[in-house]
């Protein structure tokens, strides 16, 4: 049902809710995915940011500052987040099932994945990832953190 395209671009709108904040933080930008494991998330507003994942290597540049490179292999909680995004795009159900307990619901035209992390370190921070879409397109991603913070992203092709 997913991942039939070699390269895909999309715009996103994101809304984060934190227990520490009185209001949600919103941002917009675009996504680029290239097979098999290249993922870019470019945030345009309100604060420029560039997040690039290549294989196990994650690099993050915030507001024109220095680029931080992180190795996902050493960071299971971060890796779970990346896998959750990349797995559906790559159509790599096996990769998803390595990292999560996967529950699939709905039809090909309107599907939903409920992912629960397997790695105990990841599970301590991340309760659940819910992804929904239609056909080869991902529409919504919702991350629920253990402390109640959430991150919701809607994707427009």
């Amino acid at each position: 049902m997913m991942g039939s395209v070699a390269e895909r671009r999309a715009t996103f709108h994101e809304e984060r809710r934190f227990a520490a904040l009185t209001e949600p933080l919103e941002s917009t930008g675009h996504l680029l995915y290239r097979r098999p494991d290249h993922l870019e998330k470019i945030t345009d507003a309100p604060q420029a940011e560039r997040l690039v994942v290549d294989g196990d290597r994650l690099s993050l540049t915030v507001a024109g500052g220095p680029t931080h490179v992180t190795d996902l292999a050493a960071q299971p909680e971060l890796r779970a987040l990346v896998d959750a995004m990349r797995g559906p795009l790559a159509g790599d159900t096996a990769a998803l099932e390595r990292a999560f307990k996967v529950a699939v619901r709905g039809t090909k035209a309107a599907w939903r994945l409920d992912l629960t992390p397997i790695d105990p370190r990841a599970a301590k921070l991340l309760i659940e990832v819910r992804i929904s879409g239609s056909g080869p397109t991902m529409r919504e991603v919702l991350l629920v953190q253990a402390n109640g913070d959430t991150q919701y992203m809607s994707i427009e092709p």
Partner: protein
């Protein structure tokens, strides 16, 4: 029947020689299997005369930097390199031989992180009263909001809300330090090339040879079991150098021993045509090496590889004695008769050569003393065995040179002496040229004496730069009566170090006080923390206009409250933790004082750094002006700086070395006087003393000139080699200088000395082809010196042939 009888006679003749050789060989093997061989160049150095010199030498030998091993892995795709690196790191950690193995895993352990997080407000350099004012807090909260908007939000939630001023990150930055290292797939990589990097610190000290061998084997094993494929393992560090130098030296010594022995045997075969003669000659040589090694082991507790390698080549000199003895024997002569003919020259040669070497014995320089003792004992043993043991063996086996044959050629060769004034020309030229250029060039850099090949040193510098590891031998040593005093003094130096870094004189400094501030500093930071209720009010004011809930910073306020009653973290609290392992080499007690070496990184210009440090109040010429730290002066920054000494290990070692070298040259002068006295007593006639000594001095002058011409800088190594040249030259000159000999004896002498000279050339010529610079220098010097010694001894020491009727020797006299 007759042949059987002959065989029995031959066996009766041979048995004593072979028996004696057997005993000598058993002795040598026994000694060599018992002695302890050292190969570290530093073991060659003296213990030091001033406290600072001792400190420098001890740091060089056993300081924490000596156990550091830098490892690089390259020659494969990046992912493969990362996999190998992780596997090697795991193997090294499991081996238990290393106190630290770092190569990419989380730079800080969970245990350390918890400790650091709990003590963040006491440890962080950012803690001050200003950091907790409303404007500062407001700026912190704005920054925090930015982080929450970014993909780094999980980190902001984890640390930022509990620590808006960022004390934890600042404290962690001190521990991790800035680094140019890239991390790929959980492994460190060099900044500008595909090379995985690892850093390991052995539990064993750098001078602990078996410990280092075990660590080195563990590294090679870990690499081999990582299925490296085509990847290449690179290693550097003082311990690795010591090991490589030892291996290179062993290879050299083995090769020389085998090849030069073969060459000498071939030469002797050509000269004497008798395996028995060769066996007889081997008796004093083999026993001299055995006795010399044994005596050095007893006197010094170990034998240095250089002394041993040198001792092996000594057979090029000590072999002269049996050759002189057998070469001068007439067939059928009694032992006493041969001894009587060559006795005076032989004895004087041994005495003067040994006197020349005693200078080295008393030079006060352990390495030189060892060489001196080894050489002197070797020469004396060879001479004694030649004098007392060899003649009966030689007579029993009736060994003598092949019939001298016609001596007609002798006259033609000796006629050359008519031109001996021409022979003065090179001597005058050499002396004039050396005088004109202000003497020979002197070696003042210890590095150039190091047995470590230049390529290994270059690799070390490369890996050290890529890893950001401190330079070996660039230290500021801070001392104090306890650990807190050292930490306080280091804190006083931090502004100076920051200034030096800003100036580009250093890339950084690794010091204990940056990791763990003194209790005084921690208490001052604690006193700067606001009352929790006040802090809560200020936070309320600081979040005006920002979307933070009033409850967002409860954990932060609680942490500040806890910190206000927290005891400072002391070095003892860290023992047993990974932090403790990191701190120990930087802060330790030794000799009733605490030491805090500050390791400097990226020192490119030690001279400029020394000036800048001196401007900052750090004593830089430590050896000359070091004072023990005065506990009464603790506290004032100026006093703290006076307790700090900048040590450029390389310069200090060179300084110490050159002092001893100068002394050794003075001793050489004195031993020259002793030799002169011995010659005066032994030779009676001043003219002969002049001719003998003149030919030796001429040979040494020409040798020094030739070496200088080749661009060699003279060091104590050459001094040692020149002593040997003098010894060999005296042999030649004394034998040529014997008076009123018949033509047959003169022919024997010339043949024998040419044999001796050829042997010296063969053995030391081999040495000149060694990898170990030390041995190569000795080989060059002696080979060059032996040739000129032979030439000048023949020209000057021998008598000028009479122009009239050739004398035939009926009236032999000795004097």
């Amino acid at each position: 029947m007759k042949r059987g009888h002959q065989r029995a006679v031959a066996w009766r003749q041979a048995a004593p020689v072979l028996g004696a050789l057997g005993v000598a060989i058993v002795l040598l093997v026994g000694v060599l299997s018992r002695i302890e061989v050292h190969t570290d160049m530093l073991a060659f150095l003296p213990a030091g005369e001033t406290p600072a010199a001792r400190l420098v030498l001890r740091e060089a030998r056993e300081g924490s930097a000596t156990g550091l091993i830098l490892i690089g892995i390259d020659g494969a795709p990046v992912a493969e390199l990362a996999r190998i690196s992780r596997s090697v790191a795991g193997g090294l950690t499991r081996s238990g031989l290393f106190a630290v193995v770092a190569g990419g895993q989380a730079a800080i352990s969970e245990q350390d992180e918890a400790l650091l997080f709990a003590h963040r407000y006491l440890l962080s350099p950012t803690t001050s009263e200003a950091a907790f004012t409303v404007p500062a807090l407001h700026a912190d909260l704005e920054r925090l909001l930015g982080q929450l908007r970014s993909s780094a939000a999980p980190l902001a939630v984890r640390y930022g809300l509990r620590d808006p001023p960022g004390a934890f990150l600042a404290a962690m930055g001190s521990w991790i330090g800035p680094s140019r290292i890239r991390t790929i797939d959980g492994a460190w990589f060099a900044p500008d090339r595909d090379r995985a990097l690892l850093l390991a610190r052995t539990r064993a000290g750098g001078m602990d040879v078996p410990g280092q061998e075990a660590a080195s084997a563990a590294i090679e094993h870990a690499f081999a079991t990582a299925n490296p494929g085509g990847a290449r393992l690179l290693e550097a560090g003082p311990a690795v150098f010591a090991r490589d130098a030892a291996r290179a030296m062993r290879t050299d010594v083995h090769r020389i021993a085998i090849v030069s022995t073969l060459l000498v045997i071939l030469l002797l075969w050509w000269r004497f045509r008798s395996p028995l003669v060769i066996a007889a000659i081997a008796v004093p040589v083999v026993s001299s090496i055995a006795v010399a090694a044994l005596v050095v082991q007893i006197v010094f507790g170990a034998v240095h590889g250089v002394a041993l390698g040198f001792g092996v080549t000594m057979l090029g000199v000590s072999v002269d004695y049996p050759v002189l003895m057998i070469g001068h024997r007439k067939s059928g002569e009694t032992a006493a008769a041969t001894r009587a003919r060559i006795g005076p020259a032989f004895i004087l040669a041994v005495i003067t050569a040994t006197l020349g070497l005693t200078a080295m014995v008393f030079s006060g320089f352990p390495g030189l003393s060892q060489l001196g003792v080894f050489s002197a004992i070797g020469l004396i043993t060879a001479a004694m065995v030649t004098w007392f043991v060899l003649p009966p063996l030689v007579v029993a086996a009736n060994l003598a040179p092949v019939a001298a044959g016609s001596a007609a050629w002798l006259g033609r060769i000796e006629a050359l002496r008519r031109w001996r004034l021409v022979g003065l020309l090179p001597v005058v030229l050499a002396a004039g040229w050396l005088a004109a250029r202000g003497g020979p060039a002197w070696e003042d850099d210890l590095e150039n004496l190091s047995p470590v090949p230049a390529a290994s040193r270059a690799l070390d510098a490369e890996l050290r730069g890529e890893l950001g590891a401190p330079d070996v031998g660039q230290l500021v040593v801070v001392q104090g009566e306890d650990d807190q005093a050292v930490l306080r003094r280091q804190e006083a130096l931090i502004p100076l170090l920051d200034h030096l870094k800003a100036e580009g004189l250093i890339d950084g400094a690794d010091l204990a006080a940056r990791l763990l501030p003194s209790a005084t500093t921690q208490e001052a930071r604690r006193a700067a923390l606001p009352d929790p209720d006040v802090l809560a009010e200020r936070l309320d004011a600081a979040r005006v206009g920002l979307p933070f809930r009033p409850t967002a910073f409860g954990a932060f306020v609680a942490a500040v409250r806890a910190s206000r009653s927290m005891a400072p973290l002391l070095p003892a609290d860290l023992s047993g933790t990974p932090f403790g392992a990191r701190l120990t080499p930087l802060l330790f007690a030794r000799d009733a004082a605490w030491q805090g070496p500050i390791a400097l990184q990226g020192v490119r210009n030690p001279a400029r750094l020394a000036v800048a440090l001196a401007d900052g109040g750090v004593v830089t010429d430590g050896v000359a002006t070091h004072r023990e730290a005065d506990p009464g002066l603790v506290g004032s920054p100026a006093a703290a700086r006076n307790a700090a000494i900048y040590v450029d290990m390389r310069a200090e070692l060179s300084h110490i070395l050159s002092g001893y070298t100068a002394r050794a040259w003075r001793w050489l002068g004195w031993s020259g006087v002793l030799v002169l006295a011995a010659l005066a007593v032994g030779l009676h006639a001043p003219a002969r003393v002049l001719r003998v000594l003149g030919s030796v001095v001429a040979a040494m002058l020409v040798t020094v000139a030739v070496l200088t011409l080749l661009g060699t800088r003279l060091s104590l190594i050459h001094l040692v080699a020149l002593q040997l040249v003098a010894g060999v030259g005296l042999d030649y000159a004394l034998f040529f200088a014997r008076r009123q000999l018949d033509a047959e004896e003169r022919a024997r002498t010339l043949r024998t000395l040419v044999t001796c000279n050829a042997m010296t050339l063969l053995t030391f010529g081999m040495l000149a082809a060694c990898q170990t610079p030390l041995l190569r220098d000795i080989g060059m010097t002696v080979a060059c010196g032996a040739v000129s010694a032979m030439g000048f001894a023949f020209l000057f020491a021998g008598e000028r042939p009479a122009t009239g009727v050739p004398r035939t020797g009926s009236n032999e006299r000795f004097g």
